[in-house]
């Protein structure tokens, strides 16, 4: 098959086509069931949005607060002998806490949006209050994280995390390896997002067949995709000048 890649592509085409045909025939036979399931899930989700919002965000916030507590404890255990090893540990262990914090922020906005979509005043009020509380906790976590890094590198890191220019200042203060790591991560995220947009578009198309979700998701995907690709290309253009 290595010698004849065309056979591989034909096989992939045939297998994926057959799977698609099988899936669509199964779904067509159970169309009422699929639509019913989506509707009942939608009703259930609308009624439990505040509870889900609070429980998921509380869990993520607690995880990020615990991570910061652990890192601060590690920082306090530094001696001249173990300094390098502890700093390495802090830098390696800081990512999961930040991930929880970022996920919590995204969940906050998602559940606030979901509550608004169902137009239940009580749920909107609870979600808005929860969003405010959790966003405050996340801001504290992120500021603490930045302050930890500033403590490790007092000579190079002075950017104020509460400033509007923080991202710009942080980039300016970074040295060659940190800039390289940031740009590498940025390119990785650019590559991954291209697939995410494609998958999101395919999922919306599939859902649209059984459940009318309207034009809005397609417009939003197109706008985000466009902004994402064009901003990357314009940044590449600026670099090459």
């Amino acid at each position: 098959m290595k010698k004849h890649p065309i056979i591989k592509y034909i096989l992939i085409l045939v297998i994926s086509g057959s799977c698609g045909a099988l899936a669509s025939s199964i779904i067509m036979n159970f169309e009422d069931g699929v639509v019913g399931a989506i509707n009942s899930f939608s009703d259930w989700f609308g009624s439990v949005t505040p509870a889900l919002h609070i429980s998921i965000c509380l869990f993520l916030s607690l995880m990020s607060v615990y991570s910061i507590y652990k890192l601060k404890k590690l920082l306090n255990s530094i001696t001249p002998e173990n300094e390098d090893a502890i700093y390495d540990q802090i830098e390696n262990q800081s990512n999961p806490g930040m991930m929880c914090s970022v996920l919590c922020t995204i969940c906050n906005f998602f559940f606030l949006g979901a509550s608004t979509a169902y137009m239940i005043p009580k749920n909107i009020f609870i979600s808005a209050a929860a969003t405010l509380v959790f966003l405050s906790i996340n801001t504290w976590v992120e500021v603490s994280q930045v302050n930890l890094i500033k403590k490790i590198n007092p000579k190079f890191r002075n950017a104020d995390p509460m400033s509007m220019r923080f991202m710009k200042d942080w980039e300016k203060e970074s040295d060659e390896a940190e800039t390289f790591e940031m740009y590498r991560a940025g390119y990785q995220s650019y590559k991954n997002l291209r697939y995410v947009f494609l998958i999101a578009f395919a999922i919306c198309c599939m859902i649209q067949i059984f459940y009318p979700i309207g034009l809005a998701p397609f417009i939003l995907i197109a706008i985000f995709w466009g902004v994402h690709s064009l901003s990357y290309l314009s940044a590449c253009g600026k670099k090459s000048k």
Binding site: E83, D84, Y87, D88, D175, E176, A177, F180
Partner: protein, 68 residues
């Protein structure tokens, strides 16, 4: 990675921590750590700065292993 470095040994000779060496050459501690672990290849400028501080040549600190 084909670049081998002896940064840790040379740093130990001068009793410098990663933070101290970073401060002397004008980079963060994390950058020194990344170079020592072989996760980052420094620029020529940085390699020369490190060599000057550690009183060695760049070739003594970094050597390139030809890939088979």
């Amino acid at each position: 990675m084909p670049l081998i470095n002896h940064l840790k040994e040379y740093r130990a000779r001068f009793h410098l921590s990663q933070t101290d060496l970073g401060n002397l050459v004008g980079v963060s501690r994390q950058t020194i750590s990344l170079i020592e672990r072989g996760d980052y290849n420094p620029s020529v400028t940085l390699a020369l700065k490190i060599a000057k501080v550690l009183e060695a040549t760049v070739e003594e600190l970094f050597s390139y292993l030809e890939e088979q």
